[in-house]
Structures are given as structure tokens and as C-alpha cells.
Amino acid sequence: MNHPKREEWTPYLFGEATGEDLRKLENHLQECQECAAHVESSRRTLARMNQWQVPPKRTHSVPAQLLIKWAVAAAIVLGTGFGLGRWTDASAPSSTGQGLDSLIKASVAAETQQVFARVQGDFTNALAQLETRLARAQNGETRQLATLLVEYMDKARAEDREATQTLVGQIQRQTDGLFLSLRKDLETLATMTDEELHKAGLRLTQLAANTP
């Protein structure tokens, strides 16, 4: 019998054989025990390889102590981010916004502060809660708490975006002419905040990588 070469079975084994090739191999398999055995044992090997799964993220427990440090670090970094954003907003140059209505700008600035204070407040509360729980955490629970921390950070991030978008919308309604210059300020604010969040994330990852 004219057997297909060993390497001809490979695309078939990985589900990449098509058309005429596939038909030919399948037909051969029907009538050749030798090749059927080869395919069977190869499939067994692939199935055995599946036994080694790499679970997402880190699976071993992180000491609660370290998690608290992360949380505190994140809070500080976030605080800095929002602070910088606010400062940028308040002192933004108005080169493109000549004739900028100071009243509108003041109201937007106040709104900005209000929204960010709320977001930051929520996040700080969440962190405080987390910290309390961490202090009580058993080893088995630390993994779950790590997930929680990540969730909180994601939430804070999403809220930050939402707040920025809401503000931009409001500015648009008030005056289209001033939109561009103000949007620039807000963009800077958003970028800086996001950048700080990203840095916080990186720092957390680094800390995690240093865990024994």
C-alpha cells in the first residue's frame, strides 16, 4: 500500500488539512491500520500535552502584607494623578481659547474637581475596605483579594473615563467655540491620570514579580 509520508499527516493532526488532501488522508485512514495507529498515537500525545495547562495570572498565594503595600502604593499614585490633573486643568494656558468665558471655565473646573473627588473618594473607600479585609485574610483568600484589587482598579479607571466624557459633553453643550481648548485640557488630564494608573499597574506587576 502507498502510505502518505509521516509529515503529510501533520496538517491533518492539527486540523489544517483541507480539500483534496483531507479527502485522500481520510480515505487512506479507513483502509490502513498502520496509519490509523500512527494517527491514534499522535493524537494521544497531543492529548497528553494538554495536561500541562498554564493557568492565567499568578496562582500561588501573595502575602497579605504585600497586597496592602500595593493598595497603598496605588492610592498614592492615583492621588498624585488626580492632583496633577486638577492642577493642569486650573493652570492650563488659554493660547487657543482667547476670549474664554471665565465663568464657564470656573464652573467646569468646579465640576471637574467634584467628579474626581467623588471617583477618588469611592476608590479610597474601596481600598480601605480591601485593606481591612486583607488584615483578616486567610491564605486561601489572598488570591481572591488580588482579583478584587484588580477589579477596583479597573472600576476606578472606567469611572475616570466616564467622568471625562461626561465633562466633555457638558462643555460641548455650553459652547462649541470653546470646546477645542477645553477638550485639550481634559485630554491632558485624562492622559495624565491614565498614565499614572498604568504606571501603578506596572509597579504592581513588578512588585508581584518580586514576590518570592
Binding site: 509529515e7 492539527f14 500535552m49 499568578r58 514579580a209
Partner: protein, 219 residues
């Protein structure tokens, strides 16, 4: 809020668009999105290539640092993933070479490296329950893969674990598809042989489980 989409637009951009932003504006947000999309596959690749979770995670981190540092080298007519896989693989190769050098020096110091290289794959645990058996099996696969020559390991990991097509692997490695197919064939055959040797040992040899000798050099 039609005009307010400047941030939400980031939610649906392609890898290449994101990379364009990273190149043009050093856009951290765009890069963060690329990291979020790709860190798990890159992490799995690095762990499987090095057989070591900690090292794999470090290498993943390094891969993204390198990708950002070399962002201007990325050509916008190629696929971001192809470029990223290449960066990660090169880091894995460097790491494997470092491990091999350390190991050779160690072996010189000890004066010998005996046997067929399989002897440290022996493993056993008396009457394991189902869960332990699965864990042991995973360990055997990890060790067998570690033993596989780099060329074979790379294509097997990308094709079997990461589900890349032979064509895509050929593009990443810049070799003909036929070569990828051949390496897959040979790699799978060697993997089968390695796993069978272990299985046979597991049945006949009831020595207590000990650490893979290679791991001493990896860790």
C-alpha cells in the same frame, strides 16, 4: 455626545492602529491596551518555552518593555502579533542559551553528565488520587517539553498550545511552511518518545519523586 468619542475610540482599534499611536504619540493608553490583549499569550509562550513560571513571567514583562523601546522599528504593514511573538521568542532563546551555558559550566565542574538524559525524568508517587495524577502528568509534559530541541519546541508550542496556523508560524520564524510542517512532525515524534520513556519508568521504577536535575539550573 457625538464629539466626545476621543477616548472611547480607543476601545475598538486594531493592534496595528494602536501601535501607530504608540509610534506617533508615545501613546501609553494605546500601549496599555496592547499589553492587556497580548500579555496572557506571551506569558504562556514564555512559560512553556522556559519551563519555568517565574522566569516566563519575567520574560513576558521584558518582551513588552522591549516592544515599547523598539516601537519605531515596527513596520506598519506587518502584523503586530507577528512582531511581538518574534520579540518574545528571541528573549526565550537568549534565556535558554544562558541556562545551557550555566548548566555546561556546572557539568564541567561535576565532571560528568551520564545517561540518556531521561533519568531525571523519573517520577513517582504511590497510589495517587485523580488530582495528583493530573498534576504529575502535567509535570511530565513540562519536563518532556523542556528536553525538546528549541526548533521543535517553538513550533509545537505555537501550533498546539497557542493555536497558530502553520502559515502564521512560518511568517513569525521567517522560514518556509514546509519547514514548519517538518519540525512539527519531528517535534511531535520526539515528544511522544520522551513521554513514553517516562511512562515506562513510572510503571517500573518506583523511586520517590525528586526534582528535575535541569531545574536546579533553571531556578
Amino acid at each position: 455626545m457625538a464629539k466626545a468619542g476621543f477616548l472611547s475610540a480607543l476601545f475598538s482599534i486594531t493592534d496595528e492602529q494602536a501601535m501607530w499611536r504608540v509610534q506617533q504619540q508615545d501613546d501609553h493608553e494605546a500601549f496599555a491596551r496592547l499589553v492587556a490583549r497580548w500579555e496572557e499569550p506571551i506569558r504562556r509562550l514564555c512559560i512553556r518555552m522556559t519551563g519555568d513560571t517565574h522566569r516566563g513571567e519575567d520574560l513576558k514583562q521584558e518582551a513588552f518593555v522591549r516592544a515599547f523601546a523598539r516601537r519605531q522599528e515596527f513596520k506598519l504593514d506587518q502584523r503586530f502579533s507577528t512582531w511581538l511573538w518574534r520579540i518574545a521568542l528571541n528573549l526565550c532563546y537568549d534565556e535558554l542559551r544562558r541556562v545551557r551555558r550555566r548548566r555546561e559550566q556546572s557539568v564541567e565542574g561535576l565532571g560528568e553528565e551520564g545517561g540518556d538524559g531521561f533519568e531525571d525524568l523519573a517520577t513517582d508517587a504511590p497510589a495517587p488520587d485523580a488530582q495528583t495524577a493530573a498534576g504529575e502528568e502535567a509535570e511530565l509534559v513540562r519536563r518532556a517539553l523542556w528536553r525538546l530541541p528549541e526548533n521543535y519546541k517553538t513550533v509545537l508550542v505555537l501550533r498546539h498550545y497557542e493555536g497558530l496556523k502553520i502559515r502564521e508560524i512560518a511568517e513569525i520564524l521567517e522560514i518556509p511552511e514546509g519547514t514548519v510542517n517538518w519540525r512539527l512532525t519531528e517535534g511531535l515524534a520526539q515528544m511522544q518518545a520522551l513521554l513514553e520513556v517516562q511512562l515506562a519508568r513510572q510503571k517500573t521504577d518506583r523511586r520517590p519523586l525528586r526534582k528535575d536535575r535541569t531545574e536546579m539550573f533553571v531556578l
